[in-house]
Symmetry: C2
Subunit: 349 residues, 2 copies
């Protein structure tokens, strides 16, 4: 009962899991490959979060500070797990810093990798300076710099946000939907309009997936209060006429070709499986799903159990996920660990 | 430290919360207004669940059985909370059975109410026997009866599933999206095709919101493996020619009116706020959101905290939610309760 739980990844899910365990007096070790905790919202410098509008540095930064202050949590940054053996209640982990750890269970909170827009070359990223990603716009906002065209720092007068970049796209091997980009893009569009009231913002979509209450808080509010325009379209390419970026494609509702000039084009980039997933799956002996996400064997009674007993998973490691549900799943996986240990102990006794 | 936690509602979120608390040795009282636990998946007789395909009676039924076997959980069915006063760590609840309970905190896991299709009369429910709801089709499947036309028990040859019935519909005061009906409908369509391979199944949609990995598991699989047809349309009315049901509307992609005969028309009914929410909000002194769902004041560090200290919320009580995320949120709220109590105790000491 004195061994800690190993948590792989210090993003929202991992922070939640560690906090849960600390709350009930259970030790944990967070192993984080980057040099600080917080995951994508902190490392990529997100601005205001869906669904509350709190700044990432406050909401997720606050979770980092709390976990850093917990005696029950050991934090190892710049570290990976290189070997993992044993059985539930008695695992041995070997770490990249040379240490070994005896742990009772592991929770994989290893998150995702942002889609790299250079893999969608016809949409202009890497070719034109003023084609950027949602992550870059988040950083422009969170840094206080404001939304500007990278080529000459001017305030854009016309912005196009292209949805599903690296999502729902079989041509480039990304068939899944990234779940939250529609809502995040609506949110960003409102933030752009708030800073630049004269700027026109267009969102080009296949289906608008502002599910649940996001429908009113983001989709309708962005249209009615912030005058963001939504166009159902298939985008063919992003080019330039030397002065403006030109978005070409087809408006699929009016069935007409479109050729429209913009100052700034934003790729709403999707969530790839973590590039390290094959390595993580091999180290921990867990299965991956068909697209490379970590497979959850149970979503109900033992939430987040993987295909290996004693190893659990939470958050975007399992597939595209929202921040708040990643946090919920982190807590849930921590509880599944404790519940599993209790049952295992019961059986031994 | 000896007072229990009050859990309002014994559906997936409430079962998860109670199990979490029991796992760490904390007492809870589940107060359930219906005569048994399990919430919508059990009380409404759902069939195979998204996303694992497990039967509701196994997945959620198993959670019920586990909680019923926990010494730390007191279960009161056919019971409501009528009064709730006091402060965090020392609340007094009065119950409809005449009992009083001293509790440390409360978690509202009070779920939702299925949209009643009679409130969308132009779509034929209540007028034509063979216009049914997704819940009724779930029951046809889970009971083993099979999918049949209620009017004469024949096997339907053509089935239309209409999405967004009671969702995304300002005309009837339901502006929100019900989040999971698209995916549930894709799942049901595959189940219908599995039982009745000669039956043609059409899904009429506004936007297809099979978010995340549901995109491949449901949207594409239902089309490619099960030959389910998806039509983007605005439905005007469902009538009858005396023999068949007639679905009338507009195909919004080809911009043409449609008038199509079906044997069975299925309303994919949405999730209304629980009809008891005004009463629950008043009893517990918590705020409701603009559409009548219980307001969550914190989605990150203290997940599920409501606007009243010591009172938490999880699952579909907060808005349309999936079963698995309701479960995750139930665990998360339980942890937020324990964390809150620990901090409160720290402050007192």
């Amino acid at each position: 009962m004195t061994k800690p739980v190993l948590i792989v990844g210090g993003g929202p899910a991992g922070l939640a899991a560690a906090h849960s365990l600390a709350t009930v007096g259970k030790q944990s070790i967070i192993v984080e490959k980057e040099d600080k905790l917080g995951g994508a919202p902190i490392l990529s410098g997100y601005a205001k979060l869906v669904p509350t509008g709190e700044w990432a540095k406050d909401a997720i930064g606050g979770m980092v500070t709390r976990v850093e202050g917990e005696d029950a949590v050991t934090i190892l940054t710049n570290t990976k797990v290189t070997e993992f053996g044993g059985s539930p209640g008695d695992f041995q982990a070997r770490l990249s810093n040379g240490d070994n750890a005896q742990v009772e269970a592991a929770i994989l909170c290893s998150g995702f990798t942002h889609f790299d827009s250079v893999n969608k070359p016809e949409w202009g990223f890497g070719t034109f300076q003023d084609v950027v990603t949602t992550t870059q716009v988040e950083q422009m906002i969170s840094s206080g710099q404001g939304v500007r065209c990278p080529s000459d720092s001017r305030k854009p007068k016309r912005v196009a946000i292209l949805l599903c970049v690296g999502s729902r796209d079989r041509q480039i091997g990304r068939e899944w939907c990234s779940k939250i980009c529609c809502t995040v893009s609506s949110n960003l569009a409102m933030e752009i309009r708030e800073e630049l009231p004269d700027c026109h913002v267009y969102i080009y979509y296949m289906d608008i997936r502002t599910f649940g209450l996001n429908e009113t808080k983001y989709y309708w509010r962005s249209q009615e209060e912030f005058k963001v325009k939504y166009i159902k379209a298939r985008i063919a390419e992003v080019t330039s006429d030397g002065e403006k970026l030109i978005v070409k494609g087809e408006d699929t509702l009016v069935k007409r070709p479109i050729t429209i000039p913009f100052d700034l084009v934003v790729h709403a980039i999707g969530m790839d499986p973590n590039v390290d997933n094959p390595e993580i799956a091999s180290t921990f002996g867990v299965d991956l799903q068909e697209h490379g996400h970590i497979d959850a064997a149970n979503c109900y009674g033992a939430m987040g159990q993987t295909t290996r007993a004693g190893v659990y998973v939470a958050g975007a490691a399992m597939g595209p996920e929202t921040i708040d549900d990643s946090i919920a799943q982190g807590h849930a996986a921590a509880m599944a660990v404790l519940s599993g240990l209790k049952e295992a102990i019961g059986k031994t006794a």
